[in-house]
Amino acid sequence: MDWLFLLIQTLNGIQYGLLLFLIASGLTLVFGIMGIINLAHGSFYMIGAYLAFSFTQMTGNLFTAILLGIPVTLVLGYGVERVFMIHLYKRDHLHQVLLTFGLILIFNELQLMIWGGDPNGVPIPDVLSGSLPISDTLSYPVYRIFLSVVCLVLAGSMALVIRHTRVGMRVRAGAANRAMAESLGVNMRSLSAIVFSVGVTLAGVAGMLAAPVETVYPGMGEQILIISFVVVVIGGIGSIKGAFVGAVAIGLVDVYGQVYLPEIASVAVYGLMAAVLLWRPSGLFGRT
């Protein structure tokens, strides 16, 4: 139990946290910034993973698969927004929960009809398939480091866009007060459609990128759904930085819980969320 072991476990925690941020990034946009509770977030993540599986089989390369997958998720996101979500902006959270609850049922069944029930794997691209030896028996997969880098880039760019660009400002204005933003000439109809489809695409891309280190199987969406909400809520609604810190915090709590307090490991994450919300009722960095 020397310090090297502790260091590697901390690295594991941070890496898992970054992966959680990637997975929850789409939700940070749709739920965090736009304030729409989207339970179908897990389904879009699953669809992204299955798209990566199919396109990788067709093209043999993960990156071309992702390039093919992004337009599909953009269209899917835009379609879902135009048909369903458009009615929900003025409705309270309960209706959003229920409509997206219905979407989960539909997407799960469609997935089964299209791809069937077998668990699938997506091969790691050769260029990233190596691993760096850290100790005589353990080495760190390069692909996970690649994933962590992608997460950092994504987090930075999201924060940049939301914080420092005109589009970002309009999005935040729309989320803060939709009616006021509209009266100031922000075309919320098209902006919401764009933000939602980008959010769906982020969830899909997360699924595509995580596919090589996860398993692509029916119902994989539900596994990450609850933890994605925990990430956004702990971080604080409307804060990209909050979601990032929330994700890394959960990653660490999960790993340390697993290693040092195994019995309460599964409860630890929810305990963290409850504690954070009771200490700061609108999340770490949320606007009160």
């Binding site: 072991f5 668990p119 794997g121 028996t137 398993t215 697993q258 599964s266």
Partner: protein
Amino acid sequence: MKTKFDNISRRRTLGMLGVGVVAAATALPARFAIGGKAKVRIGTLLPYSGTYTRLGQSITNAMELAFAQAGGKLGGRAIELIKIDSEAKPPKAADLTNKLIGREKVDFIVGPVHSGVAMGMAKIAREEGTMMIVPNAGANQVTGPFCAPNIFRTSFSNWQPGHPMGKVLLDEGKKNVVLCYWAYGAGKQSAQGFKDGFVPHGGNVIKEIGIPFPKVEFQSALTEIASIKPDAVYVFFAGGGAVKFVKDWAAAGLKGKIELVGPGFLTEGVTKAQGAAAEGIRTTLHYADTLDYPANVTFRAAYRKAYGKGADVYGVQGFDAGQLIRAGLEAVGGDTGAKADMIKAMEGASIDSPRGKWTMSSAHNPVQNFYLREVKNGVNEVVKLAMENLSDPAKGCTM
């Protein structure tokens, strides 16, 4: 001042609800099961949606294959199959079992895959006395504390598959082992089965790493294993978890440095998704694709011809469920009323199964061979017979 509107609205409301009542009444089916030569009604409660869909399909396909091989008649009666999706959701188990028994009036219920659903089903089956054949769920309790004359299992008890691996490791002088498993029902029972075959014979379990089900984040466990450097690691994961653990094990560079073993579910039917990471992994299970029994050869050929893909252990268990029902019905000439004789016949049956001949223990759980297997280019090949005619201890069964 009563407006006209009030009168109409009341009459319309009452009318609407009246219609509702009549509709509900007529919808009640009044089907009667005519004894004797009517069709044998067999209900399946298996997952046709969600994570375990493929297992549900494999079991159903193979069972229908067994019925087809019996010429579509069991004890002279044609078969009607009623399939219900269990969704692997325990809260619905009892309700759906009631539907099969109460509404569909089935003679046999076959299922489930998920142990939680099995507990719900068994509770109703014990109360109603309906014949229940468990083609997969391995919860020890089903043929343990909750064993019953009308409940049979054609798969395994969670205790069994991991048990022979203890002896295999000890024979190779591997004494210091770490256990890593999903810390839920099946995982704990499988770990216990392994320990019962390992510790009493001098094996030493250095550490047990329990991972909450269904989490699939294994990096921290792999790091711990790497620092402990045991002779071997016994794991229990299935389906998506098995694919991910094996791939993460290879990605963490542990492959080839520390031996990875487990019950057959670690590689059964998932080697394609695991790819090269699965090569060389040894597991123990009551079945292997390359068993050279004649029954296995004909079964695999028939299954591929009928369904266009290779059979797996879940198919074998479904096939044997079909054979067990056939044995019971043929002994009583199709008269499902003669339950005692049917049960006696099924208890005494010797099933000529693709996994090799096996008989029923007193607690109605298979007494069967367990084979050591190794993954060679994607196929679980038989290495040797690890343990012959292993029977579940059936702790708590007073039958």
